[in-house]
Each structure stands twice: as structure tokens, then as C-alpha cells.
Symmetry: C2
Subunit: 684 residues, 2 copies
């Protein structure tokens, strides 16, 4: 435990707690590991709905659980330490000492208080990945279970992945596979055919709504268009394992991040979103960033990146991680640059290496590493409209040219892998040469880097690491799809993690929307995680409101992608909300929406009275013009017709309108419809 150097300069962050409207936090226990508690939010509907309450994916952590007492000073509970320790292969150690430069040399009142508790970090015991892991080709290439000498019982095998060797569930009772086989990362366990608790957890979590779907409204399920995605009807732990083993998915989960509620990022799972937070040299403090993290996860951020620069980076990050329910990513070069006082030329492998270890010990789940910005590519950006717009990319470009040398991230890549493997930090291979304008989209610089990221992906897999790949940027709509296709091809289907892309440059102030368009499209095409863009993009640092707008925009984009891909349960919430809308269950409509507060507020601006919440009309049309009311009238009218009247309308006297639909389809097809679009004689 460290001393508290400065009490005054730092107030305990105040964060938003409590359930969302009409929502209850529930925890389910997966069959394969009943000790796990997997959260979901259940939205209660009005009794008149006559349908089940709607369970939804929940990223908000314990903050939305009224039974949990939140103490930011203590951080969240740390259940994952037990999961990691029980499989073995790791050891606790003293860890690196925090140095003044870790906080940018901040002193006195400028130094943010350290987080009050310090846990000894864990690290993998074996120095490198088991030799038989090998680089994973896109199709299969599993470690032979007998080679891996795992004696564990057979796990559940998903139909969709029957071609993959049988997976095995590891627990403290039956195995210490990490210890026995020298495994540390989720990738290594997966390759060895072993299912971890993290895998069981995310499988349970991904299935929310699917059981209900399989049991009930499946008739409404649309196959969607997945562009090669392979979405199972039901996600099993074995399916998760096989996807991770193939490199197609990752569970960012540093062994030192014991607070984490794991989630999975991959093309065959729900599309995830990331929210960027972080202070800068110009503005914003620790309290604000912790609050933003909690706030972002409340509205649906699956991941958060702490992009802090300036002073107090170390302490800010510690407060964030110890209180976060979602994976935290960083860009270590930012802190490394602070350590050399902002002079890119002074960066060195040693400083960078030290920073990786510092952050890995804290529990960062994924590092953005711009190792694809190679010396020879920098000149490809010379004629660009917007040069290099990635901060990390431009820092490394400057270093390379200054020293007349290849990037140390590239030359030391294998050592980086070894460090990241030791803590199971996932790679987020950065796109330092991404386009910063539609003019620069898909140019040689961008694609040259992407090709190098593909090469590095193979190395990282070989080294036992989990990998995802970052993508653009600014891309006009007609150039988006080729980005996805090329990424899948070059990077062996490693998950793609894109920033937008923005589909036009002319709308600063609305770049959550210019990018939301591109994000929804590329998510549909196969991107596994969408990095949000807030309305402040290009203009300023997002505040709390901007974070919320960015998160909601990206949640809706990710959901639109899930719908279009045909995720089995995606439409459950749309249908429930649409029925509520049609039946004027206003409260249900608000509660089922991504942002119940805004929906209610907008409604109340014109019809504030409580009575209007049950009104069978709204302010847009008023009672006389309400199409939904009229439709109901039409239905009621038809139901109330006499037999003769029905006959005159061509309705079967014995049946109501709903039952007549099929007959009328047929009738309509014969009398009125022309499938080939030709002009019918009877209408002229």
C-alpha cells in the first residue's frame, strides 16, 4: 500500500449510479461454471403488453445495481483474480515502482492522488508461448489436444464449429492447465483446446435474448446478410474458444484486471463499441475522466480507451481501471512521449518497454501499437491532403525520419509480444497512416500499413497473443467495403476495430453522424468493434454530454449492423419497442429505447402531462390524424363486420382480418399484382 501524497488536489470522483428506467439488474449462472454471475438488464413492460419483459446486454457494471454499495476509493470487487489463479501458470511479484515521470513529473498540488490500494501484479511464469501453438492460418490449425496433454473433460461443442477439435473446460477442480501447459493468454488456452471462465462468461453474455428467440418469435428472425460471418443460433463456450483459437475473436482481459466483466470482440458476435476518454495537456482532470468512464458504460460502451496525455497519466489510469467494469485500452506511446518531455526524437525502446510493463501491471487490456508505420511508408503520405492524422503514427514517423531508422516498434515487435503475452494484453495494431480526409482514403500509405499489420498479426499469434486491427478513419461510402475485405484477407480474419469511418469531411459538429453512417456500414460488413466519434470530434474534448451522444450513436450503429447481419436475437428489442409504439404504450417505448431519458424528455416537451403517457395519439398528428389509431380502427371495423359485409369485401366471414392475410396475399397476387412489374390492362 502506498502513501497518499496529496489529499487536497483530488476529490473522490462522483459517479452516476442506480438502475435505468424500469430496469432490473439480473445475473445468470452459466451451466458450465455456475459460480459465475453474468449480468443482464431486464426492462419491465407494462402489464397490458402481454409479452415477456425484455432482457438486454448490460455494460454498466455494478453501478446500475442498487444492491451494490459503490466506493470509488476502494474500486470494484476483483473476482477474476481467483479465475486466473485457479488455472495457474502465473505468479504475483513486487512489480515496477511508480516513478515521478509516470505522472509527467507532476508535483505538489498538481499531482493527482494515487489510488489508495495497490495490488501486487501477476505475470505469466513461462517466458514465451508453448512452441506448438504456431501461427494460426485462417481455417483451423488447432493444437492437437493430445499434444497439449490436456486431460480435462470434454466441453460443449457447438454445431457451428464441429470441425474444430473438442474444447475442454478448465476449472480449479479438474485441472491447472495454465500451470501444467505454461499457458497465459486466452489465445493460448483456446489453441490448447481449453475453455476458460472468461469464455464461458462471454458465451452466456452473448446469448441474451437468443433463448427467448429460439422459444418464441423466431418466425420474425431475418437471415440477414453477413458477408461471410458465421453467426451461430446459440453461442456455446466451445464456439467462443474456437473463434479465439482461429484468431477471429479476442477477449481483452489482462490477468491484472480482476474487476473486469469480460466481453468478446469478433465478427461472429455482437458488434461492440469503444468510447475514448482521457484528459489532455489543455483540459480535464482525473475525477472527470472516472466519471466519464462510468457514464460511458452506463449508456452502453463495451470498451473504453484512456487516451490521456499530459500529466498524471499513471494515476488517472489507475483510478479508471480499478473502477471500470469494461476493458480499458491505451496507446502507450502517448505516455512514453510524456516521459521524454514530448520530444519524439528522444523516444527509445527502453522508455517504451518500461511503459508497456507499467501499464500491463496496472491491468490495461489492450494496447494500440503503431508498429505498421514503417520508415518506407512515411513518404507515401507526402502528397496527402491531411498527411498523418494519427497521433501515434505521426510520433513514430517523426522518430523514424529523425533517426534515419526503422521504427523501434517494428524492430522490437517480438519483444513487445513477449511482454504483452506475459499479462495477456491484447494487441490493437494501430493504423497510424489512416486517412484523415476522404481525399486520402484507401491510398497506398494506408494499405501498405495494413499489409504490414497482417504480417505482424501472424507474429503476435505465433507469440501467443490476442490481436485486433485498427481501421480508418475518413472513407467515402463507396470505398468502405474494400477496407473490410482487405483487412479480413491481410490479417487472417483478426477482428477489425474501426474509427467510424467518417463518410464526409464537411460536417464538424456532426461527426458522430458522418461517422455513424460509415460505422453502421462497416459493422455490417464485418467490423467487430466500432470506436465512437463524438460531436466534438476535430473541435474539442468531449464532455459528459458528448460522451453520451457518441455512445448512443454508436450503439444504434452497432445494433443496425447486428440487425443487418442477422444476429438471431437482435430484432427482439426493435419488435418490442415497435409494438409498444403501435399500442401507445409510451412508457414502454421510452424504457425500451437506448436513451429513455431523452425519449421521455422529447415527448414531454410537447405533451408534458402524465395523462398523455397513456394517450392514444401524440403531438405530431393529434388524435384525428393518428395513423396508428386509424389502423386499429380499421382492424376493429373489419372484425365487427357482418358476414355479408365481409363477403362484400372479399373477407372470409368466419375469420378475422389477421387470419385473412394469407388468403389476401393469394387473392391480391391473382387480381392486382404483377410480379414482373408490367402494366396491367385493368388499370388504364
Amino acid at each position: 500500500m502506498n502513501k497518499i501524497p496529496n489529499q487536497d488536489a483530488f476529490k473522490t470522483p462522483t459517479v452516476t449510479t442506480g438502475p435505468l428506467p424500469a430496469s432490473t439488474k439480473e445475473y445468470t449462472a452459466p451451466k458450465a461454471a455456475p459460480d459465475l454471475r453474468v449480468p443482464r438488464r431486464v426492462i419491465a413492460l407494462h402489464p397490458t403488453a402481454n409479452e415477456p419483459d425484455v432482457p438486454v446486454y448490460d455494460t454498466s457494471g455494478p453501478y446500475s445495481d442498487p444492491s451494490v454499495t459503490i466506493e470509488v476509493e476502494k474500486g470494484l470487487p476483483r473476482p477474476r483474480t481467483a479465475w486466473v489463479l485457479e488455472r495457474g501458470g502465473v505468479e504475483a511479484y513486487e512489480g515496477r515502482e511508480v516513478k515521478p515521470e509516470d505522472n509527467g513529473g507532476a508535483k505538489g498540488k498538481h499531482l493527482a492522488r494515487e489510488f489508495p490500494i495497490r495490488n501486487k501484479p501477476l505475470r505469466g511464469i513461462t517466458p514465451s508461448a508453448p512452441k506448438n501453438l504456431g501461427a494460426s492460418p485462417p481455417q483451423g490449425g488447432e493444437v492437437n489436444p493430445s499434444t497439449a496433454r490436456n486431460k480435462v473433460k470434454a466441453g460443449e461443442v457447438a454445431g457451428a464449429s464441429a470441425q474444430v477439435g473438442g474444447g475442454s473446460f478448465v476449472s480449479a477442480e479438474d485441472t491447472r492447465a495454465g500451470e501444467r501447459l505454461g499457458l497465459v493468454t486466452q489465445y493460448e488456452f483456446a489453441k490448447a483446446g481449453i475453455i476458460t471462465k472468461e469464455m464461458i462468461y462471454v458465451a452466456e453474455r452473448e446469448n441474451i435474448g437468443r433463448q427467448e428467440m429460439l422459444e418464441g418469435a423466431q418466425g420474425r428472425v431475418d437471415a440477414g446478410e453477413g458477408f461471410g460471418a458465421e453467426l451461430p443460433a446459440f453461442v456455446t463456450p466451445e464456439f467462443v474458444r474456437s473463434e479465439i483459437a482461429r484468431g477471429r475473436a479476442i477477449i481483452p482481459s489482462n490477468i491484472n484486471y480482476a474487476e473486469l466483466e469480460p466481453q468478446i470482440i469478433g465478427r461472429n458476435f455482437l458488434v461492440k463499441i469503444n468510447a475514448n476518454i482521457g484528459n489532455s495537456a489543455v483540459t480535464s482532470g482525473v475525477e472527470e475522466e472516472v466519471d466519464k468512464m462510468v457514464w460511458a458504460t452506463r449508456w452502453g460502451a463495451d470498451n473504453v480507451m484512456d487516451l490521456s496525455t499530459g500529466r498524471n497519466i499513471h494515476n488517472t489510469r489507475e483510478w479508471i481501471i480499478r473502477n471500470s467494469p469494461v476493458p480499458i485500452g491505451t496507446v502507450p506511446i502517448y505516455q512514453a512521449l510524456e516521459k521524454v518531455n514530448g520530444v519524439a526524437e528522444d523516444l527509445s525502446w527502453e522508455v517504451y518497454r518500461d511503459t508497456l510493463i507499467e501499464q500491463a501491471e496496472q491491468g490495461v487490456d489492450y494496447f494500440t501499437i503503431h508498429a505498421g508505420v514503417r520508415l518506407a511508408y512515411i513518404h507515401l503520405t507526402a502528397e496527402r491532403v491531411t498527411g498523418i492524422v494519427s497521433r501515434g503514427g505521426s510520433i513514430m514517423a517523426k522518430w523514424c525520419l529523425s533517426h534515419h531508422k526503422e521504427s523501434f516498434l517494428y524492430t522490437h515487435f517480438e519483444e513487445i509480444c513477449d511482454i504483452m503475452r506475459t499479462y495477456d494484453v491484447s494487441f490493437s495494431l494501430g493504423d497510424g497512416l489512416r486517412p484523415g480526409s476522404v481525399a486520402d482514403a484507401n491510398d497506398r500509405a494506408q494499405f501498405a500499413e495494413l499489409e504490414t499489420l497482417g504480417e505482424l498479426t501472424q507474429i503476435a499469434w505465433h507469440k501467443g497473443c490476442q490481436v485486433m486491427i485498427e481501421g480508418p478513419g475518413h472513407v467515402p461510402m463507396h470505398k468502405i467495403k474494400v477496407n473490410m475485405e482487405k483487412q479480413l484477407r491481410e490479417c487472417g480474419e483478426a477482428p477489425f476495430y474501426t474509427l467510424g469511418p467518417l463518410t464526409t469531411d464537411i460536417a464538424p459538429g456532426y461527426d458522430h453522424i458522418t461517422s455513424g453512417i460509415g460505422a453502421a456500414m462497416i459493422g455490417w460488413f464485418g467490423t467487430a468493434m466500432l470506436c465512437y466519434v463524438t460531436p466534438k470530434e476535430h473541435l474539442g474534448l468531449p464532455d459528459r454530454d458528448d460522451v453520451k451522444v457518441g455512445v448512443i450513436t454508436y450503439k444504434l450503429a452497432a445494433h443496425a449492423a447486428d440487425l443487418a447481419k442477422g444476429h438471431p436475437a437482435a430484432q427482439v428489442r426493435d419488435d418490442a419497442l415497435s409494438r409498444a409504439r403501435f399500442e401507445f404504450r409510451w412508457e414502454d417505448q421510452f424504457n425500451l429505447s437506448l436513451d429513455p431519458e431523452t425519449a421521455r424528455d422529447f415527448h414531454d416537451q410537447t405533451l408534458p402531462k402524465e395523462a398523455h403517457k397513456v394517450a392514444h395519439f401524440c403531438s405530431m398528428c393529434g388524435p384525428k390524424f393518428c395513423s396508428m389509431k386509424i389502423t386499429q380502427d380499421v382492424r376493429d371495423y373489419a372484425d365487427g363486420l357482418s358476414d355479408n359485409e365481409k363477403a362484400a369485401l372479399g373477407l372470409d366471414a368466419k375469420k378475422g382480418m389477421a387470419e385473412m392475410s394469407d388468403k389476401f396475399k393469394e387473392l391480391g397476387g391473382e387480381i392486382y399484382l404483377s410480379e414482373d412489374g408490367s402494366v396491367r390492362e385493368d388499370i388504364d
Copy 2:
């Protein structure tokens, strides 16, 4: 001139005037008709930009011209009366008397004041279209110029439409073609091979930026992916004529709408947007709606629909039209329903017909007519999640079922055509059965109606009318494209005019975004006009702020579509803004954006000082981390290298970085890159 019945209940609307930041209104005179004044807005750049000012399309009318004195009581100038009269074929007449029911029986203080000036309406003299017009097949089918007996001089012929008979320019000097040939509508003139002033006007307007593009930065032009669109490098009046003659474009331009600044709607022109305004029985008054119209056009609305219901519809509309620079559309069934006190069953052809004439005399440019909601289709909606969500569609459905009869809009369609032709009101064939939820997208009801709209399109063309087709609604991404393809096929390429579509139902409060995604996509695929959706959709009536957010969102979606389609000059503004961004010309970045006020405001929230407007960094990253600054440093660094240093980097000592790009592409291609994505030996 009518008396003013009630002075007190109505204040003269106050509207926003004055130029946008750094903008000057300019008027150009087309070569083919030098008396026309076609507006554009020119955005001035900072002298350090070293590039020309940027001209942009301008929908804001005289309100943004500081040299014009705005008097809402008098309305805008009426130049188009002369254009219409000089070609002849029309006559002024007394017109229909305004009746109390036109304003919903509003009396006393509840009756909105009439617009102070009343102009005698014009109407076409001939009772119907010339017989030789015929229905237009999708490819050509022009009236033989000799048949049309036009003796006018040959107009400009666009290369792209060389297959179309030579167009001819009609003016008061050389012809009175309207009179001689009995032509009224733009479609009739176009079919007769005659170019109207409206066509010349819109051609000039569409070309903004293209000349600059052809002369300068064409290297940056991207071909785009037009999905069959045929975008000319330069729009000629003859190209406009040929597109209208083929039914692929319309110029909504009622002969009684003399205030109009014409614009064209068609797949081979810039994508347009529409803003809906209108009071309802529950809220909002005349002043507010006039203000909203001016406000919407200020931010870029190409068209405005007045969807007023309740009382004072007639007077509200008159104030709007007399003060609007853009086409105004309506849904006449709304007012017809008011005339029968909201009882759908009491609607009749006579009431509807009377309403069409009333509105046509006022100058409404296009009518949404839900003539495709046929009796036999209503039952196809019975099993829908959200039934019929179109107000017009549900009204007609109720009427049909109540009377056991086919829709009177369908049975009287030819008479409707004759009325609309008499004033050149364009059809906007309504999609009364559009889906109101993703569950209902692309169902039989929707497509059955679309097929009928295709049949009606042929009739309307045969009758000499301009036609566009309305489209959905709520459609998940993977079901959008088939909508466009089917519409083009069924409706002979008549322009598509879609509402969104919304790509998910779960984000009320953000439906400008859920729909902006679908709008950008369907605009790219070929939709000619996008009907905006505001954040209040499904929740309440949009206020002024909502209108602005809706308009900006749809402008950016339309622009994203233009970029993706490869509109020749679309990228000019993106590139200018991106250069401004890269060079830290903050003021230019603000001024070039769709919403300069919001962009500036967002920037100033973190860096308010004037000095920061020239700062070479911003609040996101601060000075040390600014990638753009570093990129410039990199460029400067490379430029400052000695010959030996350049040689060490592989740079040609005689050339700067920019010139080296090609060499490095080659170099990179040989040493580092792998086109087929294979792992290179040299990296492991």
C-alpha cells in the same frame, strides 16, 4: 385583394436573415438565358489558404442576401410569372373563393390572418396533355420534334444525352411554344424537345463547383460507384430536358409559384433533401411555421413540405408559399379530412378535388397522393407489427373499408392528373403502406403498393405530369438496396423520394441518425431526394432546433451520397475543409462546414480565446501531441535534410518529399509490400 379579417390573432412572422459566416451571395447569369439570376453562396477563405474561395449550392433564397429588404407581409418577388406568361398556354382567372372550411372553420381570434396580397391564379388553357406525348418508356421515346412543330433554335446538347432529340430553348423572343403547342408542364415541354427557363436555371445551379473542378483539381475526382446513375461532367440545359423527358427528373414548379428558385430532383443530379414542417391540432402556429420554413432553407433544405393539420391550414400555407424560395409540397388528404371534420368515412372525391384545386391555385409544387393504397392491399397489413403508419394511407384504408370500395384516389386518378397538369403540380406518389418498423420492411403490402405506383406513374406521364415516388420508412440495412432496385424497375426510373429509411427502431430521440444512415445509403444507391427525420420523430413536433439538426443531418447524408456516387464537384468542399483543418485555419474550417455556428461553438467550449483560432493545435491533443503539427514537422524536416542525409533515407537528394512519393511507392512495393497478403520471409 382581400380584407384582413383579424389583425390581432396574427403577428408578422419574424425570420432569420443575413449571410452565413464569411459568405457572400452571388448570382450568375446562364449563357442560355442571361436574364436569369441563379444564386450561389461563396465562402471566403483566409488569404493564407492560397486557394480560391469555395462556391456552394444555396437554398436560402433572398433571406441571406443583405442587399434585399425582407418584408414577410409582401412575400418574395415573383419573377417566374413572366417566365410562365412568355411561353404562353396559360390564363389568369378569378380562382376558387376561400371558404371557411379551408381554415377548418376557425373564427375570430382563432382564425389566422390571411396573407395580405392575393394574386389571380394561372391555369393551363388546354384541357389535357398533347396526345402525342404518350407514356414514356424508360429509354428515350421522345416526341418527334417535327411533330411538335417547334421552330425554335437548337439548344445546347449534352454529350451524355446525345441519343435524345435536339433540345430547343424557348423564350418570349423566339417562340410561344406553350401557347402554340398547348404545353403546360415541364414534362410536356421536355417531351416536346423544348428547354424552359426553369431547366436553364437548374442546370446552372447544379454546375456549381464543376467548372472549378474541370479547370483545376480534377486529379482528385473519384469515379465513385453510381449503381447505374449517369452523371455528366457538366450539366447542360439539354441534359436537364432529356432527363425530365425520360421521367428521370422533375422540377417541382407550379405555374402559380412565382417566388420559386427552381431546383431539380433526379438520380443524375445532386441528391436533394426535404424538410417537413407544419402545425398540428395540438400545437404550433402560423408564425412558427413560416419561421421554420425560412430556417430550414437557411441550413440547406431543398424542399419543404407543409404537413399542417388542424385549423388555419389554408392561411398558414399561403404565408409559407408567398415567402418560400424552395418548392412546397403538401398532402392534400390532410386538409380534405379537416373539411369533413376528421371523419374519414365522410371523405369524397368532390371534397378532395376541391382541395386539390384550392392548393394548386395557391402554388403548391407537389402533392403526396396515396393512390396506391388499394382496397385489396389493406389486408396485407393485418399481421404487421405496426400496421399502417402513413397518415394518408391509414385515412384511405379506413375510407376503403368503410365504403367497401376501391380508393377514390385510384378510381379518379386520371382526373387528378388533369388537375395537376393544369397547374404543373408534380406527383409525389405516396407510400401509404410503408413499413413503420424493421419487422414490416419489404413486405408484400409495401411492394404491392409500389407496383401500383409504377402503374400510376405511366398514367401520370401519359397525362403530361411530372412524377416522383415516395419510399420507406423503416428498413434494416440489408433490405435497403432492393427497395431502390425495385423502385427503379417498377416506376420507370421516376425519382425516388424516401423517408430515411430508419435502420433500427430502438433509438427514439436519435432517429435523425438511425434514418441518416439509411438515407445516406439509399441516396448513394439512387434516391433523388431524402425526406429528413428530426430528433423528435415518434416523440413530438420538431421545434426550430430540431429542424436545424434534421436538415444538417440530411445535408451531410445527401453529400455523403453525392461523394459515393462520384458527383464531379462534390469533393471540392471536403478537400477545402480538410486542407483548412490540416493547416489549422480554424476560421476556414468553421466557415466551410455545414453548420459554422455549431462548429465554432464546440471549439470555443474548450479554447475560447481568439488567439486559439490561429493556434496550431487544439484541445483534443494539445501542442505536443498534435499529429498534424508533427506531420508538418516531418515534412519540414525532410525538406531540410542534407543530400547525404536524404540519401541515407533513400530520398532523392534533388527532390523534396512530395516528389518522392512515386519513387517510394515503387520502393515500398518491392521491398516491403506483399500484394497477395502472404507473409514475407524478411519480417520474421
